[in-house]
């Protein structure tokens, strides 16, 4: 009898629990199906020197980060100082200029510092589509076998760097 009385209340609490959890989810975040899968291979001209080509094949055996960015993207500017800081600590950061005008992208690197070992130029965004990019910046952590281990959607925050990316890099380096 008593259970019957509190059952609606219990159901209500469960419902509120679900809705409450929903408040803290990010509906804009699309979980990437590529995590745990091989990173799409590509070759693209190097930003600033189109006579050179960047090949993902050459990255086999290395742990590396691929940061997709663009000069027209405001959030990328916000992220930039942290990337420069990461580069100072020898984090293997590679860039991909996504749908950008080469001179604009180079101007950003000139004025804000160049955190990338190499930047590949994806002028028409086809490489971005292969990686499931839907809003720059996005950053991929790729392991020695070329498997995507982590995707940061949006700017890398100091918390994400400290709690997720750095421990992951340490683990992968072994």
């Amino acid at each position: 009898m008593k259970l019957k009385l509190i059952l609606p209340l219990l159901l209500f609490v469960v419902l509120v629990g679900f809705l409450g959890k929903g408040l803290f989810l990010n509906p804009r975040e699309v979980p990437s199906p590529l995590i745990g899968k091989p990173a799409p291979t590509f070759e693209a001209p190097v930003l600033g020197d189109s006579s050179k080509t960047f090949y993902t094949e050459e990255m086999k055996g290395k742990v590396w980060l691929l940061n997709m960015w663009a000069s027209w993207c405001v959030a990328c500017r916000e992220e930039h100082p942290l990337l420069v800081e990461m580069r100072k600590h020898d984090i293997p950061l590679y860039g991909l200029a996504y749908k950008d005008v080469e001179t604009n992208a180079l101007a950003v690197l000139e004025s804000m510092g160049d955190p990338y070992i190499t930047t590949a130029n994806d002028a028409d965004g086809t490489i971005g589509i292969d990686y499931g990019v839907y809003g720059v910046p996005e950053t991929y952590v790729i392991d020695k076998k070329g498997i995507i281990r982590y995707k940061q959607i949006g700017p890398i925050t100091p918390e994400a760097l400290r709690d997720t990316i750095l421990p992951l890099l340490k683990e992968l380096a072994v």
Binding site: V30, P33, L34, G125, T126, G135
Partner: protein, 135 residues
């Protein structure tokens, strides 16, 4: 006369090849329109790929058109997009373990409701008959 005839023939030939191209092209247009209403634009997530003007949506439509021209079926194209963007890109979620509750939840609720209704009605009937017997 012969000159006129050849001109007519030439014209006929020209228009026929011209319309052929239009036909195949418009077929792809129609398919693209149809398919892109089933797909989500990942930038403005409540609009379809068909009505979004986001640069990514334009790129994806261009990519889909390329795949269609290469002779891919709609299923293959959807698979291509799901591989990159996940199930979220389709407006009709596929039936799998993580979406089972979404698909079957309403039916489960309906069954629970029906069972509850039957139990309540039976109890009521039992109370009524016992009252009738008493009087």
């Amino acid at each position: 006369m012969i000159r006129n005839l050849s001109l007519v023939l030439l014209l006929a030939f020209a228009t026929s090849s011209f319309t052929n191209e239009i036909v195949t092209d418009s077929r792809i247009d129609a398919r693209l329109r149809q398919l892109s209403t089933e797909l989500r634009c990942l930038v403005c997530q409540n609009s379809t790929l068909a009505d979004s003007d986001a640069p990514l949506a334009q790129d994806l439509r261009r990519e889909i058109r390329k795949l269609m021209e290469a002779g891919k079926t709609d299923e293959e194209i959807v698979a291509y997009l799901v591989e990159r963007y996940g199930d979220f890109v389709t407006f009709r979620p596929p039936v799998n373990a993580s979406t089972a509750l979404l698909w079957f939840g309403p039916f489960i609720m309906l069954i629970i409701g029906a069972i509850t209704l039957v139990i309540v009605l039976k109890k009521r009937a039992a109370i009524l008959t016992s009252k009738e017997n008493a009087s």
